[in-house]
Structures are given as C-alpha cells and as structure tokens.
Amino acid sequence: MRALLSILWKDLLLEIRTKETVTPVLVFALLVVVIFDFALEPRRDLIVTVAPGVLWASITFAGVLGLSRTFTLEQERGGLQGLMLAPIGREVIYLGKFLSSFIFMLAVEAAILPVFSAIFNLPFFLPQVWVQAILATLGYAAVGTVFAAMSLNTRARDIMLPVLFFPIVVPVLMAAVEGTSAALRGESWSGALRWIQLTAAFDIIFTVLGAMTFGLVLKE
C-alpha cells in the first residue's frame, strides 16, 4: 500500500512540477471538440443528439494520447528501470500507474466538461454523467495501462497503441455515450443504470486481468 501511494505521489508530483501530460492532452482534447464543432456546423439542429458522441470521442482520442505519455516519460528518464528494480510486486506498479493515468484523465475531463457544456449549450453537470465518466475513465486506464506498457517496446508504437486500444474499449465508449444521452434526455437514474452496471463490470474484469498480465508485459 505504501509503495502504491509512493508511485502515485511520484507521478503526481512530477506532473505538478512539469505539467507535461495534463496540459498538452487538455489542449488536444479541446481542439478535437472544436474541430467536431466546425465539422457539424452545417447541422446545428443535430447537435443535441450527437453531442454525447462528440464528447466521448474527444475524451477517447485525448485519453490514448495521455496513456502513451505516462510511459514514454518514464522510459526517457530511466524511471521504469528503477520501478522494476524496486522490491515491489508488479501488480503494485500496475495499480500505481493505473491510478495516476486515471487521475490525469479525470482532470482533463473535469476541465473539458464545462467548456463543452458552454460551446454546445447543454447541461452536462448531471450526476449520472459524472458517475459514467468516472467509471469509463477507470476502464480506459485499466486497459490502456497494459497496452501502453506493451507499445513501449514495439515498433510504430504511436499507431499500435490506438490500434490495440480502440477495439477493446468499444463497450466502454458505447456505454458512456448511451448513458450520457439518457441523462441529457432528462431520464432519471434508471435510464443510465444499465450502462453504469456494464461499465462497472468491464472495469472489474479488466482491472483484474490487467493486474494479472502486467508483470508479464513488463518483464525483460
């Protein structure tokens, strides 16, 4: 537990000092939102129906970018070597990395939601949306941490991470979009509940699988 917290703290401290992950990813996410807005401009009337999709597509693209950052930063400075030499279980490294990616992505989402809300004139500050966002981000981080570590030693890694990541997280993306739509249509919790359950099941399955397989990916 101490080791887990110190990995997390290390990552957070590094981020606070350098701001090399959250800031660029946030700018990128905002740009994606704006580009979608331009692309949809001719059909203003459609925006309410497509807004959840636009939101989650932007978060997914930004997320994959952020995930690849977390490990490249480690590798550039030899941090991964240090982590692997440390007398801690691989699951702990996984959970530490998983949690820090989760927090970074959530920070980006927290910043992007108000902007999104303003640009599209939609009420996104609904508790269902937030629960859905937290669960979806957990799922992204659980799968993404394994694949990011994998693509680290792979040729053409900039393309390999999204190619591996996107098909696997399709259920999470779908659930997030549907859950957000249900909330925007003014449905109560029951509308979003089955999507929340689905995402939660995904999170549990892939966090366990990730913790089990991460050591095998990391081993030299």
Partner: protein, 224 residues
C-alpha cells in the same frame, strides 16, 4: 496422417459443394440466396473457433512457457483473420439479399467487425513487437484480453439495440428464414464439418511451418 486429412477433406469439400449448390432446395423467401448461408455460417464458426484456440494457447503459453503454444496461437490467429475476413464479406452479401442493406449495426455484425479489428491488431502486434519471448508474451496477453472482450462487446451492442432496429427499410420480407427441410439441415451440418476439417488441416500445416521457421532461425542464431 496429414495426407489422409487432406484426402478426406478434399472429398468432403466436393460433396459439400454438391450438397450446398445443387442438392439442397431453395428457401421460401431467399430462394437461391440461402446457399450463401452454407458458406457464411461455417466460416463464422471457424473464425470463432480459431480465436478460441488463440485464447487457450495464449493461457497455456503464459502458464507453461513452452514455445509450441505460442506458435499455435500465432498460426491460429493468422488463419482466424482469414476466415473472419471471409465471414465479413459473405455476411455483407448475405445481408444485402436478406435485409436489403450491405451492413447493419446489429449485435452480431458489430461484434464480428470488432473481433476482426482486434485480431488484425494482434497480427500487427506480432509483426512490430520485439522478437522472441517478450513479443510472444505481448501477443499472449492480447490474445487473452481480446477474447474476454468479445462477449462484453456483444452484450453492450445488444443492450443498445433493445429498441427495434431500422433494417429492411426497402420493405423486404425476407428478413428471416428457417431451415425448413431436412436437406437444408444436413447440408449445413456437413458444411460446418467440412470447414472445420479444412481449418484443422490449414492450422496443422501452418503450425508445422512455424516450427521449421523457428528451428532455422535458432540454428542461424547459434551458428552464424
């Protein structure tokens, strides 16, 4: 052994062609179009079987660390992608006849497409990952994660399409068909059997070839 398999498979294939193209009767709604099904269904079944083998071989490789499981997973994934590609093409043609559209986002079709993407990614990872044991472990991890993901994808698309789906907009009533006659059932069963046998032969060939590839590579490493 392998040559017997090939002879038996060849004979079955000829019999199967006759049954599915000539002997079995046309469907009430789909008429001759139903014959696509005798190709589409077995090909789909074989691709799922192939990816299941990838899944099992990946687990065995990670627990036992024996290279043969890695070779088996690799060979099976390759043939699986071939069959999955055929599944998508024949399914698209079948959909055009039965539902009037080339493609519809119903649970089975969407799952099949995602499945295809996952295993094309698997082959790409095979090509770009580091050589040797590390790359093999990467592929095995993806082989497990990918297969576990498939039922979740299916379930999530089904959850989304609980409301009626907008297909057959052209007014085709040929939406469903049932295997009305015993000839149809026999043909389908034989087709599945034949294609499974074809898959077994291909997998065996490819696996043995991979063994030889691996052996020559090892010799080159050791002596060169």
């Amino acid at each position: 052994m392998l040559s017997y398999l090939i002879v038996l498979g060849g004979a079955l294939m000829v019999a199967n062609l006759f049954l599915s193209l000539v002997w079995s009767p046309p469907d009430v709604n789909l008429t001759e179009g139903v014959r696509i099904f005798y190709f589409h269904a077995p090909v789909a079944w074989v691709s799922f079987l192939a990816f299941f083998i990838v899944f099992v071989a990946s687990i065995l490789y990670l627990t036992r660390k024996e290279q043969r499981w890695d070779l088996l997973a690799n060979a099976s994934a390759e043939i699986g992608v071939l069959f999955a590609t055929l599944m998508l093409i024949s399914g698209s043609l079948f959909a055009r006849i039965a539902w009037n559209v080339w493609w519809t986002w119903d649970p089975r079709l969407t799952t099949a497409l995602i499945l295809w993407f996952i295993y094309v990614g698997y082959l790409m990872l095979r090509a770009y990952a580091p050589q040797g044991a590390q790359g093999a472990r990467y592929a095995a991890v993806l082989g497990i994660i990918g297969f576990v993901d498939v039922p979740i994808v299916y379930f999530s698309v089904r959850l989304r399409t609980l409301h009626p789906r907008p297909i057959g907009t052209g007014g085709a009533e040929a939406d469903t068909f049932n295997l009305a006659s015993p000839e149809m059932v026999i043909t389908l069963v034989l087709s599945v059997l034949t294609f499974t046998l074809l898959f077994a032969a291909l997998l065996w060939l490819r696996y043995r070839m991979k063994e030889v590839e691996e052996a020559t590579e090892r010799i080159r490493r050791d002596y060169a």
